[in-house]
Symmetry: C2
């Protein structure tokens, strides 16, 4: 029977976002359910199966019309669809594809890391539309990343493909990252990292500024920059240099068609891109200096799009 539908499920620490798509990429409906992390999160996958099966029934969809269910999770997922740990879900090891597939009565399941799925989503329907090779960096509370080569997620040997937030961009950094290392990109270019750099800068700054060190946020830094604030400009210069240099190094590895920047911090818009581009172009290898750096377009929906695409690709490979 013709496959008409595909589901994309994006599991976060508090909410599970769900999307029902046509196989051509049209988002038909999206909804959310809470993430029940109690009891080692043992209801999370059953809840996902339940909401998908309910939607199938509600829409009078035949199971055979469903190409698959893609699901992304906040943790390292390997190529077999197993996760080793997901702190925000209170999970240790779990066989996502196996457990969810069984609960769904045999509908094919594909699983990936959430940042990787977001990259795939942006490639399918967002800032990287029309490309097959992409680096995505998500500047949120942390820095996530996803690498797409030839249309496929680079999951990595330990599920750490695209873990670019933990690229060590400044080994001399004294403060430790949450991961235990020192000088991770996440400490410089995430929302919290920008605040950290801002506070450090302002502690030694005696000039006039719109920034209040007591109530600072990444948004306030970029807002002050837009208002012509000199201290904000100097802080953003630091952030841009770290991020632009790191992206130039990543491009020497993967040489993507496009670099997509998303996450809450990217709401600052083109001014963020312009800052990063300056240092990217300074440091990138000559063949890669003109690689476009663009804003993500799918915002919080990148995950469900990417998860759905993952399921579609998996269905494609099964049908071969």
């Amino acid at each position: 029977m013709m496959k008409k539908y595909v589901f994309g499920i994006d599991v976060g620490g508090t909410t599970i976002k769900c999307g029902l798509f046509q196989t051509d990429g049209t988002l038909l409906e999206k909804w959310e359910i809470p993430t029940r992390t109690e009891n080692d999160g043992d209801q999370i996958l059953p809840d996902v199966a339940k909401t998908v099966l309910q939607k199938i029934e509600e829409k009078e969809i035949k199971k055979e019309e469903v190409a698959g269910v893609g699901i992304d999770l906040p943790g390292p997922v390997n190529e077999k669809g197993e996760i080793s740990v997901a702190v925000n879900l209170n999970w240790g090891y779990k066989d996502i594809v196996g457990e969810l597939g069984t609960a769904l009565g045999g509908i094919p399941v594909q699983a990936a890391n959430d940042a990787n799925a977001a990259a795939l989503g942006e490639m399918w329907a967002g800032g990287g539309r029309g490309t097959k090779n992409l680096i995505m960096v998500t500047l949120g509370t942390g820095v996530g990343g996803g690498i797409i080569i030839d249309g496929k997620i680079v999951a990595g040997a330990h599920g750490a493909g695209g873990e670019i937030g933990h690229a060590c961009v400044d080994p001399a950094e004294k403060e430790a990252c949450n991961c235990g290392n020192h000088g991770c990109l996440e400490q410089m270019a995430s929302a919290t990292g920008i605040v950290r750099l801002a506070k450090r800068y302002l502690a030694d700054y005696s000039g006039k500024t719109l920034l209040n060190p007591e109530r600072i946020s990444a948004k306030s830094v970029y807002d002050a920059l837009k208002a012509g604030d000199e201290a904000a400009a100097a802080i953003v210069e630091q952030v841009s240099q770290y991020l632009g240099n790191a992206l130039a190094i990543f491009a020497c590895v993967a040489d993507p068609e496009v670099i997509v920047i998303g996450g809450g911090v990217s709401k600052a818009g083109q001014i963020l891109i312009d800052g990063v581009k300056k240092y990217y172009q300074r440091d990138a290898f000559i063949s890669c200096k003109d690689t476009p750096i663009v804003l993500a377009e799918l915002a919080n929906d990148a995950g469900i799009y990417g998860a759905a695409k993952l399921a579609l690709d998996g269905a494609g490979s099964l049908e071969k």
Copy 2:
């Protein structure tokens, strides 16, 4: 007819290395011809075709038994098998697969960058045997690199996949790299880069040392280190930190199963690996800290092995 043979051709600036392999990877014979770079190198591909066809005749091989000819070249080769420029061959743009395929009377041709082919060779038959995801770094006159994901070369959108020698590891570096940028890994960890760092170090060093600034080489630095020389130890520490940190960053992108280090400098042996590993493990993301870092095993044959594997993989995809 059963495909029994495959050729691997490694084109360098002075010599073309050629290998006749069985399709199981056994190297039957290897030989060299000179690289004729005069007249814009217009005889290079005809010479390759000629030597391959002669070998086929000499060995009484039927053309139908040849799975293909793989060729690697010192320049950026895209996925279609076109090269945009190869300075050492006096080449501008050339359609390698088209031209060589015609000259070979239709035997299938696959082409790749030389450093990428070396990485594939080490995966097939060298230090990365048994893996499908690998980063290779070649420390020679320059620093080359190759990234293998899921058994395939990452060629990149501009043929610059794996151009890790031009990762900008020290934007504050005053001297320029051959590529025009400042602070490339190649300026720190190639044979010439190590000499550069050594001369800089010795200029400010007043202690005793085995090293003679007038006659220094990467080999002499590592030899002095093995003899307990303090200045050599300090120089190698710098090299190791640059290279170890860079590999840790690359691993955040590709998360390989193994990192292979080859090229002339790697003849220093395990002491080089030990130095790099110290800083790699300091800076690598937690999931990747134990990724093995090993010496390449195929030396100058990595290219012909990789080129042959490329032809085999191409033949496989054609037969589908």
